[in-house]
C-alpha cells in the first residue's frame, strides 16, 4: 500500500533519528544532531502526504498549523528555569496523541468485517493504556514542577491498594480488549490508564520528578513503537523503539547519578521511606551576616567554590553571580563552580542556566572532579541550593535523599548560604549544615543580595 519510494523516505527519516540521538550525546555535535532529527521529522511528515491518498487534507493541515504555533510559542516563551515542566508537557501530549491514534485505529478495525489479528490487538491495548498513563502522569509532574500542587510526595492510606487495583483493572481491560475488540472497552481502558498515571506519579517526591519525566518519555516512545506496528508503519516502530530504549537507559543513568534505584524512586514513598521531611521552617538558632561581612570573607580567601542551585536561577541572579566571580578572580582568587548532576530541576539543567549567563564552560566543574577540592576551599558560597549539599544524604538513613551523592561543602573551612528563608529545599528536609558553627547565612532575595555583595566586594 505504501509505495517503495515512501518506504525509502521513512528509512532515511529513521536514520536521521539515529544520527540525531548520536549527535545529542556529545556537546560539540548536539545542536546539529537536534537539527538532523528535525529534518527527519519534517521529511516523514511530507512523505505521508504524498505517499497515500488522504481525505480531509485541509483540516489536517490546519491542525498541524495550530499545533506548530502552540509548540513554537510555548518553546520560545518559556523561561529557561521552567523548561523541565515544558518537556513534561510535550511528552504528555505525545503520549495522549499515541493513545488517541490507537483508539481510532481500533474503531477502524472493529467497524470493518473480518477478524483483527491478535498481535495487533495486543499492541493496540498497550498503546492505549501506556499512552494514557504517560499523558496523565506527565500532567501531574507538570503540576508538581510548576508548583500548582505540592512538590512533596502525596500519599494517602490505601494508595498502594488503589494503585494495585488500577493496575489490575488496566491489565484486565487489556485482556478483554484482545479477546473481544469493541470500542467501549478501549475507551474505558484509556480512562483506567489516566487514573493509573496519576496514581503512579502522585507519591513521587521533589527531586525524583525529573527521573519520572524521563521514564514517561521512554513510555511514550514504546507506545509510538506499538502504534507503528498497528499501523504497519516501520518508521514509527523504529523511532518509537529508539526513544523507548534510549529513554529507559537515560532514566537508569539519571537515577544512578542521584544514587537512587528506579524502584526506590517510584515506590519509595509508598514504603514510607520519605516521610522524614518536615516541610516547615525551623526556628533553631543560626548565624547570619550582612553582605559587607560576607564580602570580606570572600575577598580575603584564596580558594572559593560556588555551589549554584535552582534558587539562583529563579531569582535570575546568575548574571550578577558571574560578575561577582569575575571580580573575585581579578583579585587573584581561584574560583570554580561546583555543579551537582541534578542541580536545578533536571540533570544538566544548571549547566544550561549558567551557559545562558555566559559563564565559561571551563569554570563549571562536575561533582566527581571537584569533590576532593572542598577541603582546600576557604569559602564555599552556596547560592539558592540546599539538598545537594545536605549531609543528611550521607548520615541519615531514611531521609528521602539518603544515598544521593552530594557536594562535600561541609568539608570547607567556611560555608556561606545565600537563602531567601529557612524553608527546606525541594526534597522537603532540614539541612544540618545550616546550623554548623562554620556556616554563615546571608538572607534575602538572591538577585538583590548578590548585587549588594558585588558592590561590597568592589569597594574593598
Amino acid at each position: 500500500m505504501t509505495p517503495t519510494w515512501a518506504q525509502l523516505c521513512y528509512l532515511a527519516a529513521a536514520v536521521c533519528f539515529i544520527l540525531a540521538l548520536k549527535g545529542l550525546s556529545s556537546p560539540k555535535t548536539a545542536r546539529n544532531g537536534n537539527l538532523i532529527g528535525a529534518i527527519g521529522a519534517v521529511l516523514a511528515c511530507v512523505t505521508v502526504f504524498f505517499a497515500v491518498e488522504l481525505e480531509h487534507e485541509l483540516s489536517i493541515l490546519v491542525a498541524i498549523a495550530v499545533g506548530t504555533v502552540i509548540g513554537v510559542v510555548g518553546a520560545r516563551r518559556v523561561q529557561m528555569t521552567q523548561m523541565p515542566q515544558l518537556v513534561a508537557l510535550f511528552n504528555g501530549v505525545g503520549g495522549g496523541a499515541a493513545a488517541l491514534v490507537a483508539l481510532l485505529e481500533l474503531q477502524e478495525a472493529t467497524s470493518g468485517a473480518g477478524d483483527v489479528p491478535t498481535f495487533d490487538l495486543v499492541a493496540t491495548a498497550f498503546t492505549i493504556l501506556v499512552g494514557a498513563v504517560s499523558f496523565s502522569g506527565s500532567m501531574v509532574t507538570f503540576a508538581k514542577l510548576q508548583e500548582l500542587m505540592t512538590t512533596r510526595p502525596v500519599t494517602f492510606p490505601g494508595l498502594p491498594v488503589a494503585f494495585a487495583l488500577a493496575a489490575l483493572c488496566g491489565l484486565g481491560l487489556s485482556v478483554l480488549l484482545v479477546l473481544d475488540p469493541v470500542m467501549w472497552v478501549g475507551v474505558v481502558l484509556g480512562f483506567a490508564g489516566l487514573l493509573l498515571g496519576v496514581l503512579l506519579v502522585l507519591p513521587v517526591g521533589g527531586a525524583d520528578v525529573p527521573i519520572v519525566i524521563s521514564l514517561l518519555n521512554a513510555f511514550t516512545g514504546l507506545t509510538v513503537a506499538a502504534g507503528g506496528y498497528v499501523l504497519g508503519n516501520t518508521l514509527l516502530l523504529v523511532a518509537g523503539t529508539l526513544v523507548g530504549a534510549s529513554g529507559t537507559f537515560l532514566t537508569k543513568m539519571m537515577a544512578s547519578a542521584m544514587g537512587r534505584s528506579l524502584v526506590n524512586t517510584l515506590f519509595g514513598a509508598l514504603k514510607g521511606g520519605s516521610t522524614l521531611g518536615a516541610g516547615e521552617a525551623s526556628d533553631r538558632p543560626v548565624r547570619s551576616a550582612g553582605p559587607a561581612d560576607v564580602a570580606i570573607l570572600l575577598a580575603y580567601a584564596n580558594r572559593v567554590i560556588i555551589v549554584p542551585g535552582y534558587g539562583l536561577a529563579v531569582a535570575q541572579a546568575q548574571h550578577t553571580l558571574r560578575e561577582l566571580v569575575d571580580e573575585l578572580m581579578a583579585k587573584g582568587i581561584t574560583v570554580d563552580y561546583a555543579i551537582h548532576p541534578v542541580a536545578g530541576r533536571m540533570p544538566g539543567h544548571m549547566n544550561v542556566l549558567l551557559a545562558e549567563a555566559q559563564v565559561p564552560y571551563e569554570q563549571l566543574k562536575e561533582m566527581g572532579d571537584i569533590n576532593g577540592e572542598f577541603k582546600q576551599a576557604d569559602v564555599v558560597l552556596v547560592v539558592g541550593a540546599n539538598d545537594v549539599v545536605n549531609p543528611a544524604a550521607k548520615t541519615t538513613p531514611g531521609a528521602p535523599i539518603f544515598g544521593m551523592p552530594i557536594l562535600n561543602a561541609d568539608e570547607a573551612k567556611q560555608v556561606i548560604f545565600m537563602k531567601r528563608s529557612m524553608r527546606p529545599g525541594f526534597a522537603g528536609i532540614e539541612n544540618e549544615l545550616l546550623f554548623d558553627p562554620k556556616t554563615t547565612l546571608l538572607f534575602g532575595d538572591a538577585k538583590d543580595t548578590m548585587s549588594k555583595l558585588l558592590s561590597a566586594v568592589k569597594s574593598l
Binding site: 527519516a13 533519528f17 540521538l21 548520536k22 545529542l24 550525546s25 556529545s26 556537546p27 560539540k28 548536539a30 537539527l35 532529527g37 528535525a38 521529522a41 511528515c45 505521508v48 497515500v52 483540516s59 491542525a63 498541524i64 502552540i70 509548540g71 510555548g74 518553546a75 520560545r76 523548561m83 523541565p84 515544558l86 510535550f90 511528552n91 501530549v93 505525545g94 499515541a98 491514534v101 474503531q107 518519555n217 511514550t220 516512545g221 509510538v224 513503537a225 502504534g227 506496528y229 499501523l231 508503519n233 516502530l237 523504529v238 523511532a239 523503539t241 526513544v243 530504549a245 534510549s246 529513554g247 537515560l250 543513568m253 547519578a257 544538566g348 544550561v352 551557559a355 564552560y361 562536575e366
Partner: protein, 99 residues
C-alpha cells in the same frame, strides 16, 4: 520469514541501536538529550495523519484532528526547545567534558 518476525527483528535491533548511540553521554547533556528524544517520538504525528486521513466519521475526524494538534505540539515544540537549550552551549570555545 513471516511478517511478525520481521517486525520483531526490527524492534530488537532498534533497542540495541537506541541504547548504543547514547551510552557515552555526559550528565551535562542529559536534559537536552531527553528533550530531543521527546521531540523524536512526536513523529506519532505521521500515525495521527494516517488514521485521520482514512476516516469517514465526523467523531473520529475530530478526535484525529485533536491527536494531530497534540502530536505536532510534541514534535515542533520539542525540537525548538531543545535547540534553545543547546544554543547556549554553542558559540564559545570549550573543552569536551568528561562523562
Amino acid at each position: 520469514m513471516s511478517e511478525p518476525i520481521v517486525w520483531l527483528t526490527i524492534f530488537v535491533l532498534s533497542v540495541f541501536v537506541g541504547v548504543e548511540v547514547i551510552s557515552k553521554v555526559s550528565s551535562t547533556l542529559h536534559t537536552p538529550l531527553m528533550s530531543g528524544a521527546n521531540a523524536i517520538h512526536g513523529v506519532i504525528l505521521v500515525g495521527a495523519i494516517l488514521v485521520t486521513g482514512f476516516t469517514d466519521s465526523t467523531g473520529a475526524l475530530v478526535v484525529g484532528l485533536v491527536a494531530i494538534v497534540l502530536a505536532t505540539i510534541n514534535m515542533v515544540g520539542g525540537f525548538v526547545v531543545t535547540d534553545r537549550m543547546l544554543q547556549m552551549f554553542g558559540g564559545r570555545k570549550r573543552q569536551e567534558p568528561k562523562a
